[in-house]
């Protein structure tokens, strides 16, 4: 169906003239007596609907199904006609609801039988209907403005459904002529207006409403005239609807719903429910000619044909992703019957049901699924044919398939942080970007530095870096965030000083991998890389980078150079930081952070020691260990380095490449390896462990 087919705009014109107050002569017994109370009570006389009531009921049922199946872009304008016309709503989307219409209809009330029939005519309404069809809808307006140069592609078609009691064939012809004339007249007017559009096509559906048992005064003509009680025939043709009957619905799963409705648990039989929906949901049957096999049946009332699908157990779960080729809203044909409401309530509670095509061969083919999404029920069409994508090469056979240490868990975490949520249209972003664009920007920020495999990264394998890594990707940082980042950096500095082991991957390198100082150099480099990609964002981001640059240990070669240049002269700290490329402003922040760091680590007096100063004494707690150390630990080589130390370091490094290092020494702290660490851990005692704690 095209967007702007005749179904886009429908005008109901309902006759409100005195003769519509006549009885339809169809009697409804509303006093159904129960056996126990039958005696001695005279039942009330049955009531009968007026022609007007029939017309309103029909049209409201039409609207109900329409709004259920097509809540958008299929619009209804309701006009009532007597001595003048009354337009009950507009084309606007918020006016499209049965509640609005019912309220307006109640205000109109039934026709007044005492009104002068001479003044009253359906013509008033029909003229109003044509005028209304010329009025542009929101969607037409939107599309016309969108397309600018091709605005003429937006068509204006519509349908008038006129519910009246026609007097004769001539009367009908007169109505047709009148509409024809009005269209021509209105089209002339529309040519000169922005808010009006000329009508390109208009279908007139005349529904002749007459009392039961009385011979209709007009007979079927090419245009449809049907008697007072049939409505659904019109539906299916107007909106490409089709019908499905769900059969074999067991009582049990829906029982709790039924019980609320005071169900007397006497029926254990399965039941059927008929649903209306877009015809495309049956596409596969039509094409394959399977219609009869699929259990379609022809019936006397309602839609001519319905397709029967069988309720299928077991039910499906929501975390399964079905291959679904279409989803169509449904509306039960008999909305407030008990079976219908049992089924719809069951679905509205969030459960889904698979439906099976009954086949003669006995093979089970699941072809559809009923599922509700946010209070709307959809009939999903599932693919039941062989897939052309079967047996594809596994992803592990393709590019990157042999790599085994992808950061799957970390990326999972990343995905959860980058989940989407609806953002109200009114929320305004100063950048003028739509929410989806902002989501993309966030992805961009979060992936500026994102190593894909575990062995490519050190910092993301360290629990200690997490707070900084989580914060630095933010668009803006608060003062508090900056502090947290700085705290993280100081923590790392501390780790380095304590010589804590780093979770550096030894994959690909021979032997024990890089030495501890090398490890820290790699770690600092990586951290700097990460933060550098964000440093340009705000001053606060820059401050985090400055903090790292100021605090990090320098690569030994660089220090060597510095040492050589300066000889043994003790230069001031300021001088040194300047050398590191820090600016004055950063210097301040550096000092400030030093002060802060002191505050943070009050319990450890040795933190007052500034590692950059070569003369600082060794921390007190490390002194005893000196006795067993042959050489100062290389990573502590910040003080003056003797030629001997340099030479022996080199020899040790060269030797270490020739043999595999003893496990204990590799992960030792200051050449000391604590035994039975795991016991301590189990006892919940604090152990220096900088790898990620198991999550």
């Amino acid at each position: 169906m095209k967007i702007f087919s005749v179904a886009h705009k429908t005008v109901f014109v309902v006759d409100h003239c005195p003769y519509m107050a006549e009885s339809s002569r169809q009697q409804v017994e509303c006093d159904v007596l129960t056996k126990s109370r039958g005696q001695g009570v005279i039942p009330l006389a049955p009531v009968s609907k007026s022609l007007w009531t029939c017309a309103v009921e029909c049209s409201m049922e039409y609207c109900r199904i329409l709004y259920d199946v097509y809540p958008l872009h299929k619009l209804i304008n309701y006009v009532v006609s007597d001595s003048e016309f009354h337009i009950l709503n507009t084309w606007r989307q918020e006016d499209q609801s049965t509640h609005e219409l019912m309220s307006a209809l109640a205000a109109v009330g039934p026709p007044n039988p005492r009104e002068d029939p001479e003044c009253c005519s359906i013509l008033h309404g029909l003229v109003a209907a044509v005028e209304s069809l010329c009025k542009i809808t929101e969607l037409q307006h939107e599309r016309r403005t969108d397309m600018m140069d091709t605005a003429e592609r937006v068509a204006n078609r519509g349908r008038i459904i006129c519910l009246t009691n026609a007097k004769s064939d001539t009367h009908v012809r007169m109505l047709e002529d009148c509409i024809q004339e009005t269209i021509l007249e209105q089209n002339r007017l529309a040519a000169g207006s922005d808010r009006l559009m000329a009508i390109q096509q208009c279908d007139l559906v005349l529904v002749h409403i007459h009392p039961q048992g009385e011979e209709p005064l007009v007979y079927d003509r090419p245009k449809k005239e049907i008697s007072s009680l049939l409505t659904s025939e019109v539906h299916s043709q107007h909106y490409d609807l089709a019908s499905t009957t769900i059969t074999n619905i067991p009582m049990k799963p829906t029982l709790n719903v039924c019980e609320q409705e005071e169900q007397h648990a006497n029926t254990s039989a399965n039941y059927d429910v008929e649903l209306l929906h877009h015809r495309d949901a049956h596409m596969e049957f039509f094409k394959s000619g399977d219609l009869h096999m699929a259990g379609s049946s022809t019936r006397e009332n309602g839609l001519k044909e319905t397709i029967t699908l069988k309720w299928c157990t077991p039910r499906t779960n929501s975390i399964e992703l079905h291959y679904c080729t279409g989803a169509y809203r449904i509306s039960p044909t008999d909305v407030n019957s008990r079976p219908s409401s049992c089924l719809t309530n069951f679905l509205l509670n969030g459960r889904s049901v698979l439906l099976e095509q009954p086949r003669k061969s006995g093979s089970k083919v699941i072809s559809h699924m009923l599922s509700s999404h946010g209070g709307e029920i959809f009939l999903h069409v599932l693919n039941s044919n062989r897939s052309t994508l079967e047996d594809p090469p596994s992803i592990s056979e393709g590019c990157g398939g042999r790599v085994t240490d992808y950061r799957i868990t970390d990326f999972g975490e990343f995905m959860r942080e980058n989940r989407l949520t609806p953002v109200s249209e009114t929320s305004h972003d100063p950048s003028g970007k739509l929410p989806a664009e902002r989501a993309k920007s966030q992805l961009e920020r979060h992936t500026r530095y994102w190593p894909m495999i575990i062995s490519q990264t050190t910092i993301f394998n360290m629990q200690a870096v997490v707070p900084l890594a989580n914060l630095i990707v933010k668009e803006t940082l608060s003062e508090e965030d900056v502090l947290t980042c700085q705290k993280t950096v100081f923590n790392l500095v501390d780790m380095e000083r304590k010589n804590d082991p780093l979770p550096i991957s030894t994959v690909g390198s021979r032997g024990k991998g890089p030495k501890r100082d090398e490890q820290y150099r790699i770690m600092w480099n990586e951290l700097e890389t990460l933060v550098k990609t964000h440093a340009g964002a705000t001053d606060r981001h820059q401050r985090v980078l400055d903090c790292i640059v100021a605090c990090r240990s320098k690569p030994p070669e660089e220090e060597e150079k510095e040492k050589k240049k300066r000889g043994r002269k003790r230069e001031d700290k300021e001088d040194k930081t300047e050398k590191n490329g820090s600016k004055d402003a950063d210097d301040k922040s550096w000092q400030e952070s030093e002060r802060l760091k002191g505050l943070l680590d009050k319990e450890e007096p040795e933190t007052e020691v500034i590692k950059d100063s070569p003369d600082s004494p060794e921390p007190a707690n490390k002194k005893p260990r000196l006795s067993i150390e042959e050489v100062p630990p290389p990573e502590r080589a910040k003080g003056p380095v003797s030629l001997l130390t340099m030479w022996s370091n080199r020899i040790t490094a060269a030797n270490s490449r020739k043999h595999q290092e003893f496990m204990g020494r590799v992960s030792s702290v200051n050449n000391k390896f604590e035994l039975y660490q795991q016991l301590k851990e189990e006892n919940g005692m604090d152990v220096h462990e900088n790898g990620k704690s198991s999550r």
Partner: protein, 512 residues
């Protein structure tokens, strides 16, 4: 999109091609040469395509059913025999049944018809088939259009001049038009020789069998991928927007959504997303690395060892049970997810939603999905116990709001009985009684069914007289109050018959 090769093996295909000296060829040889070239191309670049080979003359025969084994197809080409005259109609009927048997009627298919442009004579000739098109019985309909979406490529082992000399070109054009028009006629340019047949099949390959390469982006992470099968351009509404839309070769992730939230959405097509190594000339898609020798690491093995974003994404999507929302072009989106073929094999799959800003009502407008970091509090809850989806429609559907429909008498009777049942349990059921009463009142007023209001008022008055002595005195008060209110409403007096007015229970106090 599976392919059917429909090869003309009628006698006219054996006509010799005149060459300036050298070997003599038949048209059939040219056709076989072209098809071999096509198969070779597919074997290396379009390996996952299912292809079948059918030969036809006045009869048709399925030589190779749908397969990815291109050796088998080439072998069958080598063993073609020559038969009688061309009869396109019966062959197309054969295609229709073969395809539907294998893939059903929804799967789009490509048909490559290889013929020399001599389309048969007399009964069964294409000319005759087309002439009789309009006056046929329902059971003898022409097989085109096929029930499944079709792209028909007609490879003519003849040049355009030759086809235009007879009515063959017109007939082929009409055939193409009948097939749905989504295809093309290829003719040979210049003299009939190996070179020109290669050129013609080269054009077909470029047009329909060139792999679709794209780059998948997730912020700064990216991966070169092949999307298989090629996503075809689609037209949404011929009237408003007749330009076909194609997907952008830069596929940008927007964000991630839980599988339960996306909830089996309808899609227009599904595609495998296969990471590729762009440095290589030939794609390794589908070949795997199993048949390579251990000693020398092949290019594909090397590629296997370099981390690839697709593999990371696939792994995490699978573990987390999520899908990635991907933008395919302006106002066009799709989703990426892990699709398991069996327990061991799984793959990154992309499904395309219908183009438009709001393909899934329960997600709302895609452009209005933003990062959760913008929300005041995490809409998924701290422990992932909540979800912002699905969105609720602004107006409830009829089945979710207890509407009143009295088209069938039983609907009306049920509603009246409900009121009476509650009336007998007054004052315990006062609330439900008035709720049902007001529902009936509203509907009756909207439908202009005042007679019903009077009727129910009478019923309530009668109930009042039938109350047993043991009844609570309040019951009688409420019943007569309700009856009186209904009677007032049935007069249509605006004071009592307002739609939004509700009859309130009578205030009584029997506590003292």
């Amino acid at each position: 999109m599976p392919t059917v090769i429909l090869m003309d093996v009628s006698l006219s295909m054996t006509r010799p091609v005149s060459l300036d000296g050298g070997d003599e060829f038949q048209r059939k040889n040219l056709a076989v040469h072209g098809l071999n070239m096509l198969f070779e191309h597919m074997a290396s670049n379009y390996r996952l395509e299912f292809t079948s080979l059918m030969a036809f003359s006045s009869l048709w025969e399925l030589l190779v059913p749908f397969t990815r084994d291109y050796n088998a197809l080439q072998e069958a080409l080598g063993n073609l025999e020559d038969y009688d005259k061309t009869c396109v109609e019966s062959a197309l009927t054969g295609v229709s049944s073969v395809v539907q048997q294998e893939w059903g009627s929804a799967c789009p298919c490509q048909v490559v018809l290889v013929t020399d442009g001599s389309l048969g004579i007399g009964k069964g000739s294409l000319r005759q088939s087309l002439q009789s098109l309009k006056h046929r019985a329902d059971d003898k309909k022409f097989p085109l259009p096929f029930p499944f979406p079709t792209k028909m490529f007609i490879m003519s082992i003849a040049n355009a001049e030759e086809l235009q000399a007879t009515d063959a070109m017109n007939n082929l054009e009409e055939l193409l038009h009948l097939s749905g028009g989504d295809g093309q006629i290829f003719t040979m340019e210049g003299p009939l020789c190996m070179k020109s047949v290669q050129a013609m099949f080269g054009r077909l390959i470029d047009h329909a069998y060139s792999p679709f390469h794209a780059v998948l982006h997730c912020g700064n992470l990216s991966s070169d991928v092949q999307v298989f099968p090629r996503p075809e351009p689609i037209v949404m509404d011929e009237e408003v927007d007749p330009m076909p839309r194609s997907i952008n070769p830069d596929l940008e992730l927007v964000g991630f959504i839980e599988i339960a939230d996306i909830s089996s959405p309808p899609v227009i097509s599904r595609h495998l997303v296969l990471p590729i190594n762009v440095n290589k000339e030939v794609d390794e898609v589908g070949t795997g690395a199993t048949d390579e020798l251990e000693e020398e690491p092949s290019a594909s093995q090397m590629a296997g060892k370099n981390p690839n974003f697709c593999v990371l994404l696939h792994g995490s999507l699978k573990v987390e049970g999520m899908v990635a929302l991907v933008q395919l072009g302006p106002e066009w989106y799709g989703m990426l997810y892990s699709q398991a073929d069996s327990k061991k094999k799984s793959n990154l799959m992309m499904s395309l939603f219908e183009p438009g800003s709001e393909p899934l009502p329960w997600l709302g407008k895609i452009t209005h999905l933003g990062p959760i970091s913008e929300a005041a509090e995490n809409p998924y809850g701290e422990d992932d116990s909540k979800s912002p989806f699905p969105l609720q429609p602004s107006v409830k559907r009829s089945y979710a709001q207890n509407v009143t429909v009295w088209i069938k008498a039983s609907g009306l009777q049920t509603d009246v009985q409900k009121i009476l049942r509650n009336a007998r349990k007054l004052p315990d059921k006062t609330q439900t009684f008035y709720k049902e009463l007001n529902r009936l009142r509203k509907a009756a007023l909207a439908f202009g069914f005042w007679e019903l209001l009077k009727g129910v008022a009478d019923l309530l008055e009668r109930e009042c007289t039938l109350l047993p002595d043991s009844a609570h005195p309040d019951a009688a008060f409420q019943l007569s109050h309700a009856a009186q209110q209904l009677k007032l409403a049935s007069t249509g007096d605006s004071q009592y018959a307002a739609f939004d007015h509700n009859i309130a229970p009578m205030h009584t106090d029997f506590s003292s």
